[in-house]
Symmetry: D2
Subunit: 236 residues, 4 copies
């Protein structure tokens, strides 16, 4: 049902987007960043608490199984074949006891059910087995929305000469968007891979990708991204 509503909502949103896109283009927003020379794939929170049923963080399952995971499998294959770095991002907290007087959840637990993401339960924050990390791929544990905020990701990418980040995962309105916004600010070209980004509420993917494409990163199809990963791999 959520999925059906999502399609309806997206139809209603498209009119708003058309009006906005006209204004953006007249004003010089919504331009193309283009791809750079050295990409990395950053896959955000495609861990069991988000990809599998039964958790407060569970996302739209139809989209997950039919679009996001298959798109990720294609992207991973292209990265692995052509030697592009892969960063798997996940989220968990060390001190989730309700009576703790100090916690690494920060203010966030007062807003969302962060307490569920218990570091001592790796089955929750482990990357989904359908896209499991391989040797040489980096798994980044974060504590807030962005994969860059409060992590060494920007420094690591710069030290490895990465200039372009292909961002996938969930959720569009939270960790994916924040990763893209910070990635741009930190000096990278963010590419949002359209089919590989999900959420848990109708409309959120649509309006967040619209905002991203207008101001923060290029929204591209998985096809375009795979073609790019193959091409830049051959040139490197």
């Amino acid at each position: 049902m959520t999925h059906l509503n999502s399609k309806e909502v997206d139809r209603k949103l498209s009119e708003a987007f058309d009006i906005a896109a006209r204004l953006y283009r007249e004003r010089g927003f919504q331009r193309r960043l283009g791809f750079g020379k050295r990409p990395a794939l950053i896959s955000v929170d495609l861990a069991n608490a988000w990809t599998r049923p039964g958790n407060p963080f569970t996302c739209d399952q139809e989209k997950m199984d039919n679009e996001i995971i298959p798109a990720m499998q294609r992207l991973l294959e292209a990265c692995r074949t052509h030697g592009h770095p892969v960063i798997h991002v996940t989220t968990a907290f060390e001190i989730v006891d309700e009576n703790a007087t100090f916690t690494d959840m920060g203010i966030w637990n007062a807003k969302i059910p962060a307490r569920v993401l218990d570091l001592s339960k790796p089955e929750l924050w482990a990357i989904d087995s359908r896209i499991a990390p391989r040797q040489g791929e980096y798994t980044l544990m974060k504590k807030r929305a962005s994969a860059f905020h409060g992590t060494e990701l920007a420094g690591i990418l710069r030290a490895n000469n990465i200039d372009t980040i292909l961002v996938t995962g969930v959720t569009a309105c939270c960790c994916v968007r924040q990763t893209i916004c910070d990635g741009l600010a930190d000096g990278f070209r963010p590419i949002a891979v359209r089919e590989a980004i999900g959420d848990r509420i109708p409309g959120a993917v649509a309006w967040n990708l619209f905002d991203i494409d207008a101001k923060f990163g290029d929204v591209c199809s998985t096809d375009e991204c795979v073609t790019y990963l193959e091409a830049v791999g051959r040139n490197a």
Copy 2:
């Protein structure tokens, strides 16, 4: 016309929000952070390029003149009367020459018309005279969307014992939202002041406030915020 469309779009969005809000509440999202003990007002990009007509960055003028500026004037009065810090944020760039080989605009100029925000033209980035900074208020020059990213704002607020940030300004989908998301991650309680936040495209205020309220900060009315600023001032 933009304003009319904005109202229509908001009506269409409200159905999507109702469905989403039900899911969020069942799952434990969209909770109240509440106000803290020591607030600061952070007013984002209410500078001439955004508040006045004729610039690519100009925002919805009807909302600006009739809602945002009056709300800001009430908030400023409450802060000034009760001794709460005010931070006015603006944005400009030093190297905007099209032929420059090095620029502080970063990747952003490839996406939005950042070049327009020329540091050598203070009439563009000066705070709107209707809400002009007073002695003892801080004017922060930023280069990216967030008032926290790549600035000392978090450290300054912590050193001044601030725990709560009331965020206003433009645009909802960019600098306001990023400031709120980073504020939360940096350990502050973000409050989005509903009437004092604008954008330049229809729908963007609505969907961004919805996302913010679900995951990053409390959306409160100007009335609630003024009452809080007065109350916490008396207790301090």
Copy 3:
């Protein structure tokens, strides 16, 4: 032998410090920050690779066993008795394979033997058992010198209303100093606990504590810090 040389070097340095301290005092540097209202203990890299013999990162063992560990035990007892947060910091890397084309070690492995700190060998980066973390204490895994850079530590401390950080550990010239410098910039009052800070080369503790005390944080004795932790605990 290293320890003996260290004492000699310190004697030679003291003359330089006397001249410098005179200039600093005349100019208004080297003032006291003083203690704040809510402290946390931040213990840096007191993990086996640094505290025990046989590793390239091993520090001065006589100082470790006779001064640092006993001082830490006193500080921990005061924190645990009075409910002050404790953060144990350690360092390790995920991708240390010499042939890896991507690594989280960044540029650092080109300068120091970072590769030794292998995340898959927890016996190296586990906190020394003599000061083992207890339930409710936070263990922070960092990748660079500072406990703040590229971590959520500042946000976590702010969200918990901490305003003062008591910093201990190794090494004085690297992770301890960087943690103190960043702590100040991030809005906290840094206190360097004299007897609880070590290094692996003669002189480094002396000249780094001198620089810290002049510009970044107060150098205080363990006695002063324990007295403070007890006093602020009773008032809280």
Copy 4:
């Protein structure tokens, strides 16, 4: 007199450095990072309050006039001839009123005479006229020791494909060292230009360059750096 003492202190320190260097080399520290492919020159706090007499921040004048400024002039010429970016860094504060209840000086004014660096007195924080910025060079205003902490510098450098930073200026124990440490953590190769780095107390240049060379960046001569800037310019 300060200068004479500085030479004596350096002699006394050299013995300590010899012992330490032996240990560092045995353990695999103090290695060479080497130069990268795209350098930028980062000149820290060579502004009048530091370079000219009569200010609490004034540095060793003999070294300033006879070594640092001449070295900077050679480096600037090489950068300007070969098109390498130059970043001039300076420091000032907006709210320095002793009675202000809110200030951008943070905790720092409790330790050092930050209040002197008044943003409303540009003669203090303006870059020394002997090395005045040219069109297309970037002047960065910072508020803390590091040129990276709380600024967009890392993002700006990454967006401009810079991988190597040549760092000069004052003081060795504070802003220069912090800039180098953060530069490394943020993914850049830091080079400390030996003759172009100063301080205001005897010994501080020596012990800080020793620590830097051991763990954070390569200490190189102005000659080596000029040769590199010319060579990489020709290859670009």
